[in-house]
Symmetry: C2
Subunit: 242 residues, 2 copies
């Protein structure tokens, strides 16, 4: 009856608590089976199956058969960004389920956001990359600078492969704990993979939390030095003095 896109369908997909729990779980980035998702949502397998088919019909998740298991993931980066965006809004508005659990500090420090690094460390990494002029851009469209391409390649990142992936290489994703942007896109994913592969960090078993090892902390600080408290830091109060 009205012009424009229909947000109600998406809203109602996310609006059910069971489905919201599943989506939140999938934001962890790992592919999960129907049984696991039923567990995290606290419902039986039959009910979960029904929810999952609805989410798939809505294009929010994708499934992949492997043996007798069905692994579910978020459909793509866009879904992850949207969910993370909603979580940011919800967190800021005080829509929380469990008044900051015990794992909360670890989650705020460093966590997985679908396939890249988020939390304090994620935000610091992007701040540093911008300060070092590895990345430039405006809005959610970011770009590698020519000098940045060199630095990333030196780190062992296969840039041509990232470009070939046909997904945006750099992208800004709003962090729900920091309310600042961190790096998403295929480069964001590649960097997280790098940390994990090098053994600098590892994922907590049943959580989105990422724990850095001792050398991991050092390497992170070396690769992504914090800029002196500058333009990037003070974001809300602007330079315009009244």
């Amino acid at each position: 009856m009205k012009e424009g896109p229909d947000i109600a369908q998406i809203g109602s997909l996310i609006g059910d608590p069971a489905r919201a729990n599943m989506l939140t779980a999938l934001t962890g980035g790992k592919a999960l089976t129907a049984t696991e998702l039923a567990g995290t949502a606290g419902i039986t397998l039959q009910t979960a199956s029904s929810h999952l088919s609805k989410l798939e019909a809505g294009g929010l998740i994708a499934q992949r058969k492997q043996g007798r298991h069905r692994y579910f993931t978020l459909a793509d980066d866009d879904v992850g960004l949207m969910i993370e965006g909603l979580m940011g809004f919800a967190a800021y508005r005080g829509f929380t389920r469990h008044r900051t659990g015990p794992k909360d500090p670890a989650l705020r420090k460093a966590r997985v956001c679908y396939n890249h690094l988020a939390g304090d460390y994620g935000v610091r990494m992007l701040d540093s990359l911008v300060a070092e002029e590895v990345i430039a851009g405006v809005g959610d469209k970011l770009q590698l600078t020519p000098s940045g391409e060199g630095k990333m390649t030196a780190l062992g990142i296969d840039l041509p492969a990232l470009v070939r992936s046909r997904r945006p290489v750099c992208r800004a994703c709003l962090d729900w704990s920091e309310r600042r942007s961190h790096l998403s896109g295929s480069l964001g994913q590649a960097l997280l993979t790098l940390f994990l592969d090098k053994g600098w960090a590892r994922r907590e078993p049943d959580s989105r939390a990422v724990r850095f090892t001792g050398t991991g902390e050092k390497e992170f600080a070396r690769l992504f030095p914090l800029p002196a408290p500058s333009a990037v830091e003070r974001h809300d109060q602007h330079t315009v003095e009244a």
Copy 2:
């Protein structure tokens, strides 16, 4: 039962078609009465009243009594950004209600996004501001540059007043039709107000569309020249050649 913010509550608020219609209508930026909102949603006044109180309890809208009317608006910029973000996601995924109506081209060209300019013109304006180094920044955190402050003041914008408003001055908002960022925040609002006050553009009666006058077009082109097709334009395919 799980950590993190609760997206289900917000989802279910938006998930009802009637409420979604109301929110979409309010994205137009004008304050609307309960009766008007009931009309756009296609429901009776009683039902609308119930929906509106739910939306208000959820913090998505605010009301202001004036005489015997109650005017409703979105609660703040954050809500507008979230809704617009969802609309972008929905549009990209093909969740549309009415297969691109007749007003659609006008909407894509220039429209109101809560309180600032969106659509092709909104995106072009931000592109130009960045190319002219009036605005710089990364992610959704943008900043006026010192030279930019001068230019905006010269345009007749009261920067100290914007700062006093305690809202972010510059902010990136994802455009659902262009899938690029445009300028939000109090500066974005001030610029749209400027266009309307100067008579360069006016709002269509019952739509979010904004129509520029002849001189408005010229002034817009003069104030916000398009950068030569450069880094800002080609955003998805990166400079890295395979």
